[in-house]
Symmetry: C2
Subunit: 226 residues, 2 copies
Amino acid sequence: MSRRSGILEFAVLGLLREAPMHGYELRKRLNTSLGVFRAFSYGTLYPCLKTLVANGWLIEEPGSAPEEALAASLAGRRAKIVYRLTAAGKEHFEELLSHTGPDAWEDEHFAARFAFFGQTEREVRMRVLEGRRSRLEERLEKMRASLARTRERLDDYTLELQRHGMESVEREVRWLNELIESERAGRDRRSGPDAPALHDNESGETGGLPRHGGSTRPDPSDDTAK
Amino acid sequence: MSRRSGILEFAVLGLLREAPMHGYELRKRLNTSLGVFRAFSYGTLYPCLKTLVANGWLIEEPGSAPEEALAASLAGRRAKIVYRLTAAGKEHFEELLSHTGPDAWEDEHFAARFAFFGQTEREVRMRVLEGRRSRLEERLEKMRASLARTRERLDDYTLELQRHGMESVEREVRWLNELIESERAGRDRRSGPDAPALHDNESGETGGLPRHGGSTRPDPSDDTAK
DNA sequence: AATTTCATGTAATTCGTTACATGATTCC
DNA sequence: GGAATCATGTAACGAATTACATGAAATT
């Protein structure tokens, strides 16, 4: 019951799996570290955390810094609340990770899944990447069909919008192709049904992503932005 | 009051400005012809149409086919409802078109605006394109900053996600640059305060978009899809 | 005759935001 | 000591979806 959000729940569990955190920090990581993928507000996050606690997947802990705990105990002061994943929460997250329902291919859902690929088994990674790709290919076909049907009735701008949209999708398909290829390459020999199941993966083994030219130089002219 | 949806309202008015239509067809055009931009369901569309009628921007007309009107008059039968833009509606849409609030640069809003560029004055087109571009450049800066701050703490997949996201944004900026350039080129000489205001633009004058290689051949292997 | 597609709607529910309210900590 | 940022929450609202309910027209 209380089937909260899906993607937010998933992302929160995933982030907390790496390390305990309080809400404020959680939100920042949600909005920056994890790709471009959507900005949640506190009004969304805090109630969600409550629910996850109620489900037994998280526990609230007083802030870890000793003076905080002291200050909190002295008066009725409010201290930072650090959320930590419980064993049940870990289990639940792992279950979510292996679920490859057809929702997993949708835009934001996919991005969230991808963001936690580091904690995902290779087999599942493949399913998600391939599922996403065929979802996009479906979309492309629909776009092509609709374009073929209506091309002459459309003005230049509408046409240009369609063209650009299609090109974006095509570009993502190419990206997925590269990723899938390098997953396959990383598989090498031996990856039978007894996969290593990298539950507590610390080894630097990620299969080796397609090295793109890192044009993203540090750019010293801005650090924390305005 | 009853500030409905924004983008749906805008798109509906824009589509009906071209020709009267009934709800079902409207929805199809919303989801196909107008770029990739989001699929609205009937549960959203019909109530919205009601509101627009209540505001005096649309009127409901019985289906135009003569047998339908006849059938409807005979019994209490339900006939197709064709929506037509009123004079007030036309005026309202034109007002929305010229509005360039900061919302106009956001993803979906922008797509909707762009889709109706054929009915938009050149000056406004420029403002929207440039606004969108600077919005994206802001976003890029934030992404670069956040990446510079967190690069070493991130695993390969998260990094790859970020990289791909940034590249997508960069690509759109390049697209906008082309568009802006060709808008400027189309302006030629003379485009003072007395612009032609293409209210009932039928002339093929659109300024000439950057001709991209039309790789979108008809593809006879699917017409109306499954 | 049955199925698909066209066509219009409503009610309940989900997901998420904005605005508000409060207070602690850090930096200048 | 004042501003910015950190930190946690709630209530009211908004936008849109899903599932439901209905029925006509076209196609097979």
